[in-house]
């Protein structure tokens, strides 16, 4: 029988809430990081690399590798594995450095 991570550790989280990924609703639990919420929804990539545009998501999951950068509520380069999900957070796929509007 499949068991969820929450069951395995006997977690009893509060009520779930909604965040969005590129406008699509994603369910998150209190205390979950943005990366964990996205993974739970089956989303594995939320950034493209600067030079070759390859997909990236969480790699180390503990804030060290900076692979999981995402644009969260309009702010680029947030580490999705460290930022706790909050109700209504709008996550958007980050293209490269995420600072395209600074280009001149």
């Amino acid at each position: 029988m499949a068991r969820t991570p929450a069951e395995l550790v006997g977690a009893n989280p509060g009520s779930s809430f909604e965040i969005t990924m590129d406008g699509r609703p994603v369910t998150a639990l209190p205390g979950q990081s943005v990366a964990a919420a996205l993974w739970s929804a089956g989303i594995l990539a939320w950034r493209t690399t600067r030079n070759t545009g390859r997909p990236r998501g969480a790699f180390c999951g503990i804030g060290q590798c900076y692979d999981c950068l995402a644009t969260i509520n309009g702010e680029p380069n947030r580490r999705a594995c460290l930022v706790p999900a909050r109700p209504g957070d709008a996550i958007t796929t980050q293209e490269g450095h995420g600072h395209a509007r600074l280009s001149v």
Partner: protein, 384 residues
């Protein structure tokens, strides 16, 4: 014929200056052993920004050395792989008021006589050069000869370009100087044993005073600490090396107290680097939030968009400071066979090729490309 423990020259220090000495000596046909207690570029080279500046130097021996180096870096950039990130991007020095502008004008007029090309940029043209620059500045000067390299990779590729004549011994500390009965150099002792050569070049940077002491001579190299603040990767928003006019005064100052003046530049990899602080606090590596706060505030004053950008890390290094702000380059008259190539303060990356060339000429008894007497390693002797 060099053997495993014998070569024509030993260079102590695998920073960019040691690498340039090894490269030019090898090109002159000499075999070179480079010894460093750490890795390549493990000291001040690896903590630098890779400034190749003429703009901050007043007419005099250091500027002559910088102008020669500017030409040599241009040659090296053709020869070394693109990974050294050589960018002849030019410098832009800006002034916030008319007094600052007058000071820049006088400074540039003096430099022009020495061969520096500086173009005055009126306030209304600053944004053509740097679109993100803060409004309201009084103007600036554009120095086309200023350039940049990635210092650690530049050092590594200089060593590699030396070819078979350059041998590296890393992670091996030099503990003594070996001399003959008449006091001439015959090699060094390291933690691993003896290494033999008729010439030893002290390219130990900020630790050059310690190496000199092993040879029984005094060279008063002191550490002058600097922090660099690194932003998250950005598009090419800062095109030149941009700094405020106060920087020139800070560089020339001998004060031990903290001085900060923002030097802002983009890099090929994306992050913007923000220097430059100066303080004499020995070899203390403690992070100073006060320094970082001042650097960030000054950089943001120049480029307001930086206020919305993350700084992702910082690093510190120790500039090798000599009391008259000139490096020690050339043979030490007190110890036959000992040469020095250290004490370049914050300009070591920029001055490395000319230093290497001077050392190689001295080793092969060739004609030096410029007057070496202002860099004499024994010049501090009289004052002691």
């Amino acid at each position: 014929m060099p053997t495993r423990n014998t070569s024509d020259v030993i260079v102590v220090g695998a920073g960019v200056v040691g690498a340039a000495c090894a490269y030019y000596a090898a090109r002159a046909g000499l075999s070179v052993t480079v010894i460093d207690r750490g890795p390549v570029a493990g000291g001040t080279t690896g903590a630098g920004e890779g400034n190749l500046l003429v703009s901050d130097k007043e007419p005099g021996p250091e500027l002559d050395l910088a102008l020669l180096s500017t030409e040599l870096w241009r040659e090296l950039a053709e020869l070394l792989p693109p990974q050294i990130e050589y960018e002849p991007k030019g410098g832009l020095v800006v002034a916030s008021g008319e007094a600052g502008m007058r000071a820049l004008r006088d400074f540039a007029a003096g430099q022009e006589g020495a061969g520096v090309r500086a173009e005055e940029i009126p306030a209304d043209r600053l944004q053509d050069l740097e679109p993100h620059l803060a409004p309201g500045l009084a103007g600036g000067f554009h120095y086309r000869q200023d350039a940049q390299v990635m210092p650690a990779l530049a050092a590594a590729h200089l060593l590699r370009a030396g070819g078979d004549r350059v041998r590296l011994r890393l992670g091996e500390e030099v503990t003594g100087l070996l001399t003959t009965a008449d006091g001439s150099v015959r090699g060094v002792r390291t933690v691993a044993g003896e290494v033999h050569a008729s010439y030893v070049v002290n390219a130990a940077g900020t630790w050059g005073g310690e190496v000199a002491r092993l040879a029984g001579v005094e060279l008063p190299v002191l550490p002058r600490r600097g922090f660099v603040l690194v932003t998250e990767p950005l598009p090419r928003v800062v095109r030149h090396k941009v700094y405020a006019a106060d920087y020139v005064a800070d560089v020339a100052s001998g004060s031990a107290a903290l001085q900060t003046s923002a030097v802002v530049e983009g890099t090929a990899a994306g992050p913007v680097l923000i220097g430059a602080s100066r303080e004499r606090v020995g070899f203390d590596r403690t992070l100073s939030t006060e320094v970082l706060r001042r650097l960030a505030a000054q950089a943001t004053a120049l480029f307001p968009f930086l206020a919305g950008v993350r700084a992702i890390r910082t690093y510190a290094g120790f500039r090798p400071y000599l009391p008259d702000h000139l490096p020690a380059i050339g043979p030490d008259p007190r110890v036959p066979g000992l040469l020095h190539a250290c004490g370049h303060e914050g300009a070591g990356v920029g001055l490395a090729p000319a230093t290497g060339l001077l050392i190689a000429r001295a080793l092969s008894e060739g004609e030096p490309p410029l007057d070496m007497s202002p860099f004499s390693p024994a010049r501090f002797e009289a004052a002691v």
